[in-house]
């Protein structure tokens, strides 16, 4: 039975109370905030619960908000069984971002969390194999951060070249 986002939010609130934030946004993009340490339990409940049945983690992204001093991890949940959607957002502290892992709930989260770790530096507590996935193993820094400055050279190869534009 597809539920609408308000009903899903109500069910989550029913189980977890005020740890689930208010419902923001409209329609398919409606989301709720979850504390970084609790996301694993919420995910497990969302997956196992009979009414919610979110068997698929459609997307896991990280967004860097330096103005809010947070790195936000966004979870798009989808249920193939019931064909409904929900979005969970987690705000991790920017200086030391740690979020509980959901790779035990959905195997797909394994690689997505590695990518968020690689590009944004978020550490996922309890991840079985947290290492860089896209960048080389010894790359300094996290490229997708807003304040990332590219290193001058990497293993002796320069990272800049003369601009070919006339201006």
């Amino acid at each position: 039975m597809p539920l609408d986002t308000a009903a899903i939010h109500a069910r989550l609130r029913e189980r977890f109370g005020e740890t689930i934030g208010d419902l923001n946004g409209v329609g398919r993009d409606a989301w709720a905030l979850v504390p970084p340490g609790d996301i694993a339990e919420v995910a497990r409940f969302a997956h196992d619960d009979g009414e919610l049945g979110f068997d698929c983690l459609s997307n896991l992204s990280g967004v860097d908000y330096p103005k809010d001093e947070a790195i936000q991890v966004v979870y798009h949940l989808f249920s193939y069984r019931d064909r409904h959607w929900f979005v969970l957002k987690v705000n991790a502290k920017r200086d030391d971002p740690v979020v509980a892992t959901v790779s035990g709930v959905w195997p797909h989260a394994d690689w997505q969390e590695r990518e968020v770790f690689d590009l944004l530096g978020v550490r996922f507590d309890g991840h079985p194999d947290l290492r860089r996935i896209l960048m080389p193993e010894d790359w300094p820094g996290h490229p997708l951060r807003k304040d990332f400055v590219e290193p001058e050279e990497f293993h002796g190869i320069s990272t800049s070249r003369e601009s070919l534009l006339r201006t």
Partner: protein, 386 residues
């Protein structure tokens, strides 16, 4: 040991005092049959693999970060390169996200042009996937036949938008140009021929005994495993899950179109083996022909693009749009902060999930089967690494 930059545990079996070590091979970035620049670290006991660990990142071009620098309109050519084998879908995803954020409605004719371009691109991509799969299994001729058909499509695309691979056909608000005069007739001529070619292709390779023996019962992915690993598109449908974004979560003008969604039936082996994933793609070729014919018949007249300001500034917010690319459900999570530059763009592609499942299904299959698995999952490296 330097092969991976991380430790790969190598078994030391002791059978009656005999110490054996598994062979660690690098199916390296340069290899004739990994589809793009991929690398697999294979731990094998002779021909039988114990594990194949994918190592990606060789084609990482930080496209997502580039989006934050070049602006909403300027990012469109970059989207072509996200998955250059099926570039129309990437254009479509980005434009859909931008339009959703800004609340722009695309004119009906523009939507039809988009769907026609999408479906032609789907044929384009599936031909390459099927051809490469045949080539990896060892039959070179079906590959050249698929490429021959693709040449006809390349000519059609070149007439439509000027490019054979990276199309940059769609714009925010519609498409770049209307269909050229006489193009619709050429498409219909091509489709009329193409369906007989698909039958010939099936006679040549799809039901060839050697081919099916190579693929049947290899790397069976169950429906639960497929959903857990977020496999999408033909990979998911090959495992028996009947879900297609075009039908079950429709966008654009798909609600007005009539088509079937092929699902893997375990024809030659078990549901979810390599053959099912392959045959779903072949059957989708015919369904795309059907869709294109309907579109060409039903297209209304009118403008093909809405009025969108050059200095495009959608209101702040985020949205997640999905469309059925050739490789499955492609998700675009776009965050806007109200300026002329996107704040964040995350592209969740089907191949990224598909390659992560290779490690799980590659236990106790042979090295030759690994090639079949990679080909059946239709991995394209640019989509994985972005």
């Amino acid at each position: 040991m330097g092969l991976a930059g991380f430790e790969v545990e190598v078994q030391r079996e002791t059978e009656s005092g005999l110490v054996t070590e598994d062979m660690t091979l690098s199916m390296g970035p340069q290899h004739p049959s990994t589809h793009g620049v991929l690398r697999f670290i294979v731990r094998a006991d002779g021909e039988v693999m114990k594990e194949a660990i994918p190592d990606i990142g060789y084609l990482h071009r930080s496209i997502e970060k580039i989006a934050e620098k070049v602006g909403w309109h300027g990012f469109l050519p970059y989207t072509d390169r996200v998955d250059y084998v099926a570039a129309m879908f990437c254009n479509h995803g980005w434009t859909m996200a931008a339009e959703r954020l800004a609340g722009i409605e695309v004119p009906r004719r523009g939507e039809y042009c988009r769907v026609i371009a999408d479906e032609l691109c789907r044929i384009h991509s599936h031909l390459l996937a099927a051809g490469s799969m045949a080539m990896d299994i060892g039959a070179f001729t079906p590959f050249t036949h698929a490429i021959r058909e693709r040449e006809y499509l390349n000519d059609l695309f070149e007439e439509l938008c000027g490019s054979r691979l990276t199309f940059h056909y769609m714009r925010i608000g519609g498409v770049g140009w209307d269909l050229p005069p006489g193009w619709a007739e050429k498409v219909l001529t091509f489709l009329a021929r193409f369906e007989t070619v698909v039958d010939e292709y099936n006679r040549l390779i799809s039901y060839n005994k050697i081919f099916t023996e190579r693929l049947a019962d290899v790397a069976v992915v169950s429906a639960e495993q497929a959903i857990g690993y977020n496999l999408v598109g033909p990979n998911l449908r090959g495992s028996g899950v009947a879900y297609d974004v075009r039908r079950d979560d429709p966008y654009s003008v798909y609600p007005e179109l009539d088509f079937d969604v092929p699902v893997g039936r375990g024809e030659m082996g078990t549901v979810g083996d390599c053959f099912d994933r392959y045959i779903v793609r072949i059957e989708e070729l015919k369904q795309s022909c059907r869709i294109i014919r309907q579109c060409l018949r039903q297209m209304p007249d009118g403008p093909v693009i809405a009025k969108v300001p050059r200095n495009f500034k959608p209101p702040a917010g985020d949205c997640y749009v999905r469309l059925e690319s050739a490789r499955g459900d492609m998700g675009w999570y776009v965050v806007s902060d109200g300026t002329a530059f996107p704040y964040r763009c995350k592209i969740r592609t089907g191949s990224f999930a598909a390659i992560s499942i290779v490690q799980a299904v590659s236990r106790d299959i042979m090295i030759a089967d690994l090639i079949a698995v990679i080909a059946s999952l239709d991995l394209v490296a640019p989509e994985i690494d972005r």
